[in-house]
Each structure stands twice: as structure tokens, then as C-alpha cells.
């Protein structure tokens, strides 16, 4: 499966995510309509009005292999 990014990071806070989403997704002109996550606080906050302002959805089966 294609990925938008897979980047090493020391932090997993919303600002670390936001910087990557801006440079690797939004800067390409892609419009984000929603995000799916395990409901981690940083990921949920990406969907708020200060960031993407989209719907945040929980993933159905969150598996660790």
C-alpha cells in the first residue's frame, strides 16, 4: 500500500504530526476530508479547527502484529 509518509520522530504530539501532514500531504495540494486513528489525543486534535478541521473517525479493528 502507498503511504504519504513514514518518518522517524522523537515525539508523537500533534505538532510533530501537523508539520509532516502539512509538508507531505497538504503542500501537494491534496485536500483532506477526514482522519482515522486509534483516538490518541494528538491525532484527534489534528481534526480540530486549528488544524485540518475535518471529521475524526475511530478505526474499527486496531491490530498490532
Amino acid at each position: 500500500m502507498a503511504t504519504f509518509f513514514e518518518e522517524t520522530s522523537e515525539k508523537r504530539d500533534s505538532e510533530s504530526w501537523w508539520a509532516l501532514i502539512q509538508s507531505r500531504v497538504l503542500d501537494l495540494g491534496i485536500s483532506v476530508k477526514g482522519i482515522v486513528s486509534d483516538r490518541a489525543r494528538a491525532l484527534v486534535s489534528l481534526a480540530n479547527a486549528q488544524h485540518l478541521d475535518v471529521v475524526s473517525m475511530p478505526d474499527l479493528f486496531h491490530l498490532s502484529v
Binding site: M1, A2, T3, F4, F5, E6, E7, T8, S9, E10, R12, S16, W17, L20, I21, R24, V25, D27, L28, G29, I30, S31, V32, K33, G34, I35, V36, S37, D38, L43, L46, M57, D59
Partner: protein, 169 residues
């Protein structure tokens, strides 16, 4: 500066015109002694190499191409050092037609490496510009999560991508 003078003298072709040094000096606005010295060096090079080809414009072009090709193929891609490449050119007797000392070759390797990085940057900038045009119509739902290998990785996958026309895949 010297390269321009050399090109001027070479392209003027005094000997083929059968002109005197004085007349050529006046036409080119270059001292007689300089013309005489450059012509003598050119004759020496031709005698050493057994051909005048490397003094011609086409020869100069081919010479540059050959030097860069050797440096790129054996120096940059093959990892041969400047000393080894200088030795190679010395075996071919090219030292008399171009500055091919070890230090000159080391400088050319650095210049070529810098040009390759510059070319890569230009290509990436072009690809990014193309990607922006191609992706502008795309809409996506992102799947986000972190994972760990040696270090933590932030991963972003497209859960669904669609066109603004309504087509989703």
C-alpha cells in the same frame, strides 16, 4: 582570461592565413609574443599527441567529454581516487593537452559531485511541481498511527482517495 586569448588565437588561424605575427597581433589586439608563445605550445602539443585534433573546437569538446566521462564513471561511480585517474590520463599522454594533475582532478570530482547534487535538487523540484498539478484534484481520508522499529515512526496512509468529481477508490 587566458582561455579567451587562447580561443581567439586558435580560431583566428594565423598560420593557415599565412599572416605575419605583426598583422595578427594588430587584428587580435594581442601582443606578438603571446601569439608566438601560444602557437609554439600548440605545435608542441600537436607533435606530442601526433594530431592537431585536440586543438580544434570539436577536439576541445570531445576532450572535455572524455575527461568528465572518466571522472564520473571511474571516480564517482567506481570510487577510483584522483591519483589513479591522473595516472590513467598520464598513460594516455593527455597531460600535454589538458590540466590533469591529481589536484586538478580532485577539484573536478568535487565540482562534478556538486553539479550532481544540484541536478538532483532541480529534478526533485520539477517532480514536486508536477505532483502538485496532478494531485490538486485529489481528496483523501488519512489513516494515522505510530509504529516502532529502531526508532519511532509516524505513519500516514491514504484510507481512501477520491477525485473532486466524486470518484473514490
Amino acid at each position: 582570461m587566458f582561455k579567451q586569448i587562447w580561443h581567439k588565437i586558435q580560431s583566428y588561424g594565423r598560420s593557415s592565413k599565412g599572416e605575419s605575427l605583426r598583422k595578427a597581433s594588430k587584428s587580435l589586439k594581442i601582443p606578438k609574443s603571446t601569439i608566438w608563445y601560444q602557437e609554439k605550445r600548440s605545435e608542441e602539443r600537436s607533435a606530442q599527441m601526433g594530431t592537431n585534433y585536440w586543438n580544434t573546437a570539436k577536439g576541445q569538446h570531445d576532450l572535455k567529454r572524455m575527461i568528465i566521462s572518466v571522472i564520473y564513471t571511474f571516480g564517482i561511480k567506481g570510487g577510483a581516487g584522483a591519483g589513479r585517474i591522473a595516472e590513467h590520463f598520464n598513460h594516455l599522454n593527455f597531460g600535454s593537452v589538458a590540466a590533469l594533475s591529481q589536484s586538478s582532478i580532485r577539484r573536478m570530482i568535487k565540482e562534478l559531485e556538486a553539479s550532481i547534487v544540484w541536478y538532483k535538487d532541480l529534478q526533485e523540484a520539477g517532480l514536486k511541481a508536477e505532483a502538485v498539478v496532478a494531485l490538486q484534484e485529489l481528496e483523501a481520508i488519512l489513516g494515522l498511527d505510530e509504529t516502532w522499529l529502531d526508532e519511532m515512526l509516524l505513519v500516514c496512509l491514504p484510507i481512501a482517495i477520491g477525485m473532486s468529481s466524486g470518484y473514490f477508490f
